[in-house]
């Protein structure tokens, strides 16, 4: 049985920013592939429009999300109503201490029991913490390539440091694959491990029962058998 998830786990503002990330990311990847190589006719103007628009939206979205992490409260664990500033879910937390090898072992089928931990497991937290920085870096490389901003000293300095426009374009392309690889793992684990309950929570804000957790004892505190949908 999985942990219960309440509204405190994924507050509504974060569900909204997650939706925006999802839509923008998919639009950016698809339009980006087309801009990289236009496999069919008639779409370049639209693709570039979508790409630039989504790039700007996702950049603003990630900045808003970073600001919100300091001012919006969320539960740093599943199965609990107790909340703290969301930033605590992104910093190392006691619930996860010494659990990295346990997580890796679990994913490699070397151990059968799911490790106890905070809302985000150790590898999950590491990758999630990287994502905002990657998005900002991606935005930087993107604006360094986009003609109206490419000649601003802030972006030009990067282009020169990386060895010219071609290098910048390849970095932008590589970074897209970093996101694709992340999405593969993220989507796979969400389906495989999180399952339907977690999906309903993350996309449609619906709670579900399961094991409950106590942030003070750092341990499972019981079980919520209710169907909360």
């Amino acid at each position: 049985m999985d942990m219960a998830e309440y509204h405190e786990t994924h507050p509504l503002p974060f569900i909204v920013t997650h939706w925006i990330n999802l839509v923008c990311m998919i639009c950016l990847i698809l339009s980006g592939f087309y801009i990289h190589f236009p496999a069919f006719d008639g779409f370049m103007g639209v693709a570039r429009g979508i790409h630039v628009l989504c790039g700007i939206v996702i950049t603003i979205n990630i900045i808003v999300r970073i600001v919100m992490t300091f001012i919006v409260k969320s539960a740093p664990g599943n199965g609990t109503h107790e909340t703290k500033a969301d930033i605590y879910s992104w910093l190392p937390q006691k619930d996860n201490r010494h659990q990295l090898t346990a997580w890796i072992g679990y994913y490699l089928f070397l151990r059968k029991e799911h490790p106890l931990g905070g809302k985000y497991g150790v590898p999950q937290k590491i990758s999630y913490v990287l994502i905002p920085f990657l998005i900002l870096f991606m935005a930087y490389t993107g604006f360094a390539l986009w003609e109206p901003t490419s000649q601003l000293p802030f972006f030009l300095a990067g282009t020169e440091a990386f060895g010219g426009m071609m290098s910048m374009r390849i970095i932008h392309y590589f970074m897209m694959f970093v996101f694709i690889l992340f999405m593969f793992i993220h989507v796979y684990l969400s389906f495989a491990e999180g399952g339907k309950g977690m999906m309903k929570m993350m996309f449609f804000n619906k709670e579900h029962g399961g094991l409950t957790y106590d942030m003070k004892t750092h341990n499972v505190s019981g079980e919520d058998e209710r169907n909360l949908e």
Binding site: F40, D41, A102, G164
Partner: protein, 448 residues
């Protein structure tokens, strides 16, 4: 002084050549077009030409020394093909080209002497063509037994300005491409290292468009100033915009109309060459405006994608146009780790494919282990905590609370097996199997 040439009155020159006022204005228009500035400035240029040293009765012509380093002489060749103004007029009547390996009438000692005198007299422009090969003490290229690096240093020190003509002179060009055995670099970088502060005007291109040189010489000779330069010391009016933004096929790009294969209808309709690897979007030069070959055509007009020959960062020989753009027909350059070269796209797709396969295999593992859809069995105690009871992270002695479906609460002692957490893996698997069977039965029941 021997090296000084004088010009007669401008009108006399024009008359001598049978040049009408109309043709003269055309020349001014050509200079303006070459400089990439507005046609409205033509009268100003004409006026400046008339009042300049060229137009003065006894004025001195501006001395120019044209040196070649590691070059193919392509830039000289391009210059020699110039029509408006033709090289002869330029050399004899606009400037005093006191030294050029190819075009000077003299040769050997006498030519070297002319150069020495020009340098000694000062107030001249140095045009440098070709890369600087720093390795082997500069002896890879030498004239009269002296390394070209020494000749450059000597000629650049007292020059009013150095025009680095062609991508090789800007940053070493293709000679600076990996592995760059001759340690090639551009004029600006070399002079900076040598502590020479003479201003450098970088004019990339392979070959550099001769009309760009004319526009710079016009600025120097006529306006007595260097053109406005960008932060790479390239003339801003010529190198601040991308070829893509100035391209006559840009409309086809925006419409998404592309040539994907040569010899097709799309090619005959002059569609955009982006899909053929055109480097226009990342190359900054005024090629589509200035054009080549007496303003007849340029690469894209001739049906060939831009290969980015104007890409040259004067401070970074690694950012040379060949290494950055080859293979020209692909969207990306090749990357290199040691001697292993690979395409970015191939690497990315390979890694993505491997990951996808790994995840599919992992998914089957998850299914077999019965872990899918949130069906996990949590550890009752962290393994680390079990090994380090004195420093345990969790507190495992608190009683547990079960909230039943109807909302009633039940407290059970610590260590009690919760319904969702069976004691053993076998018990958990059995429970899971029962749940799966119940779900299946539910579905079947629903269908009936």
């Amino acid at each position: 002084m021997k090296s000084e040439a004088t010009a007669s009155e401008l009108e006399n020159i024009l008359e001598l050549h049978g040049v009408t006022r109309r043709s003269f204005m055309k020349l001014c228009g050509a200079i303006v077009a070459a400089a990439g500035v507005s046609g409205l400035t033509v009268p100003r240029v004409a006026q400046a030409l008339e009042q300049s040293v060229i137009g003065a009765k006894e004025g001195n012509l501006y001395p120019v020394i044209w040196l070649e380093g590691a070059s193919c002489t392509g830039c000289t060749e391009a210059f020699a093909q110039l029509r408006v103004p033709d090289p002869a007029s330029l050399i004899l009547e606009m400037i005093s080209l006191n030294y050029n390996d190819v075009l000077s009438a003299g040769a050997g000692e006498s030519l070297e002497e002319a150069k020495s005198q020009t340098i000694a007299a000062g107030n001249y422009i140095l045009v440098y063509e070709g890369g600087i090969l720093q390795e082997w003490g500069g002896y890879a290229t030498r004239i009269g037994g002296r390394p070209s690096t020494e000749i450059l240093t000597e000629a650049a020190r007292d020059a009013n300005a150095v025009v680095a003509l062609g991508s090789c002179a800007v940053n070493g060009g293709w000679m600076a491409a990996h592995p760059n055995p001759s340690n090639a670099c551009g004029v600006q970088q070399y002079l900076t290292q040598a502590g020479i502060s003479t201003p450098v005007v970088n004019v990339p291109g392979c070959p550099a468009n001769p009309e760009w040189l004319v526009s710079i010489l016009t600025d120097v000779v006529v306006m007595n100033s260097l053109p406005q330069l960008n932060d790479q010391n390239k003339p801003a009016s010529l190198f601040d915009q991308t070829i893509h933004d100035l391209c006559p096929r840009r409309g086809h790009f925006e419409n998404g109309e592309f040539v994907r294969q040569y010899g097709t209808k799309e090619e005959s309709e002059n569609y955009c060459l982006y899909a053929m690897g055109c480097r226009g979007p990342q190359t900054r030069a005024a090629c589509p405006i200035t054009l080549y070959n007496d303003r007849r055509s340029w690469c894209v007009d001739a049906g060939a994608p831009c290969i980015g020959c104007c890409e040259a960062n004067p401070n970074d020989p690694g950012d040379n146009w060949v290494e950055v753009n080859a293979p020209f027909a692909n969207r990306h350059r090749k990357l290199r780790i040691g001697d292993w070269q690979f395409e970015p796209q191939t690497l990315c797709l390979a890694i993505t494919g491997i990951l996808a396969v790994c995840l599919v295999i992992h998914g089957f593992g998850m299914k077999k282990a019965g872990r899918l859809d949130g069906n996990v069995r949590f550890e009752k105690k962290r393994r680390w905590d079990a090994k380090h009871p004195d420093r345990s992270i969790g507190d495992y002695d608190e009683p547990l609370t079960i909230i039943h479906e109807d909302g009633t609460k039940e407290t059970v002692p610590a260590g009690t097996n919760l319904p969702g957490v069976p004691e053993s893996d076998e018990a958990w698997k059995k429970q899971h199997a029962a749940q799966v069977a119940a779900k299946k039965a539910d579905k079947k029941g629903g269908r009936k």
